[in-house]
Symmetry: C2
Subunit: 370 residues, 2 copies
Amino acid sequence: MTSERLTPSASQVPDPEDRTRLRVEEFRKRRPRLIDEVVTMAHGAGGKSSAALVDHVFVEAFRNPLLEQLGDGALLRLPSGERLVFSTDSFVVQPIDFPGGTIGDLAINGTVNDLAVSGAVPQWISVAFVLEEGFPIDRLRQLAADMRAAADAAGVQIVTGDTKVVPHGSADGLYITTAGVGVVPADRELSPAAVRPGDRLIVSGTIADHGMAVMLARGNLAIEADIESDTAPVNGLVEALLAAAPSTRWMRDATRGGLGTVCNELAQTVGLGVVIDEGLLPIDPTVLGCCDMLGIDPIYVANEGKFVAVVAAEEAEAAVAALRGLPGGAQAAVIGEVIAEPAGIVAMRTPFGGTRIVDMLVGDPLPRIC
Amino acid sequence: MTSERLTPSASQVPDPEDRTRLRVEEFRKRRPRLIDEVVTMAHGAGGKSSAALVDHVFVEAFRNPLLEQLGDGALLRLPSGERLVFSTDSFVVQPIDFPGGTIGDLAINGTVNDLAVSGAVPQWISVAFVLEEGFPIDRLRQLAADMRAAADAAGVQIVTGDTKVVPHGSADGLYITTAGVGVVPADRELSPAAVRPGDRLIVSGTIADHGMAVMLARGNLAIEADIESDTAPVNGLVEALLAAAPSTRWMRDATRGGLGTVCNELAQTVGLGVVIDEGLLPIDPTVLGCCDMLGIDPIYVANEGKFVAVVAAEEAEAAVAALRGLPGGAQAAVIGEVIAEPAGIVAMRTPFGGTRIVDMLVGDPLPRIC
């Protein structure tokens, strides 16, 4: 992991490589945090606190072999040998309408995408509503129409559901929980175990659009900008990528916690390092400008129609070309690679030749983004 | 449908049979209500308002062949020919602890039971939490343990999940949404189309325990009584019933809206009548006493570990015997039968020889029961 530097290192300051090594050692010494005594917003933000809550409370209680390989969904093997992926997500985004989407299409796309990046062809979706007393029926009708449109766009069917109502003031409008089932094609094998140094990281398009769109839609920042959520199904893009790059090892949609969190999950799961080239990250200039003004690193901002894939180096070019030919994939790019060391660490090469560690955040600067 | 009467009908008052006929005609004239402009608690209560909301908003928007056969779950057919049932439920019960159970085991048992009464062997469960900021982690740990224990008791695995956090005051503690997938054995066929006049209705045990237990646990009634929720998995009972009564036509767990609502759904789905013999309903005397004091008909009170089955007359005795031999089934009983006319109507024979119509309620006297 070397990079050109704009300024030569002077002998009186620690060598930059040494500095990086020191930082990595320091970083590794950190113990996983004990979780707090009460639930905090950070526990829902998809970062370290969320991971701690899931590990120490839920995985601990529910422990079983299927749960422990937990990615974006569970791989189920049927008596016939057929394989399914089963996934669920709750949606509590606020506001429920934002430029580019609503909680309705988000709830469909979110589960469709979890199934798709797990290697399944998404097919069936369940929807469960917790509605607040007083919520306008017309608004609900519109959200249902959004969900139907999203389901049609993704080629899935909404096949079952549930409705509960809670008193006014107890659900902030409504919460939607979707679950989904997809079928894994017989010849498809994705496995983090197949990831090796030299593999390339691909992102399917611009990052940070969804999180910034929702943040601005809240209207409590003194910023106006035309930013739309990227909420969209990625199953078409995933199929195109897998056709062009059949050795693809691993995929994940970069939702809560953004690209930075997903890359950390990758590095920790496979026990290898990940290096991202900051200059290669596709970001809309307006989104980048807003992130800069708010002091938020776009690498941690949620996406709702983008995924990260680890592909064999020799298939990377074909993979990017396949994505770029499709709607939603025009900005697809190779953004980095898998390296042997430092294992479990995500590093970012800056355009100035430096390297910084991309840690997983404890919480999220933008809560309730999905 | 005749019954002995305690008092002979006098010629100056309308003949009781005529009165019944008039009531049925009157009843049939009622149009389905237009749903309100905003969501009300009644929309979540499992009665007519719930049905109207689901039909006019969700089924209307999501329309597809799988959804239209909506029961407690969707029947999915895989390319291999294998059949699955997929189901979901949200749980918003208040309080989250009550005698006999918690929202945790309720959330597992609810979905297990929906799969079981749909003819599937429940196998895999997803859990999605909407947690309120400030909720105690120790409490969450205990609920997770309850869920694990319920999953173990039902023989299912919790395989995937999600956690979201909303600000204090926005989720009344926590809401849990589970979804589940079960496998339908190759030789199993349940179908409302197979229901015919003369078939018997069986209930797997005492009714109204859960609803009354939760109601009393709220502590705002001037009643103290030892009533425990019946929250339990019914999949073992369902398998025993199907083994003893292989011609079983239809099953449904009698949750929100109770036995009365389930029987109405049956009558409307099959286009036949249902007659229940009030004197045959298994009810715990304490539960009945509380219902009487509150003026609530136990036939509409929620159960969380009971189901109704329609079985062939000649298999009814064996079915009840099989259930009575198992935990949770000791009070199983034949409670009525399917009749040709009046079609779509549920009638109840009272112990005094009268007959009354058991309508589907608009709302529920006991909201947020699950």
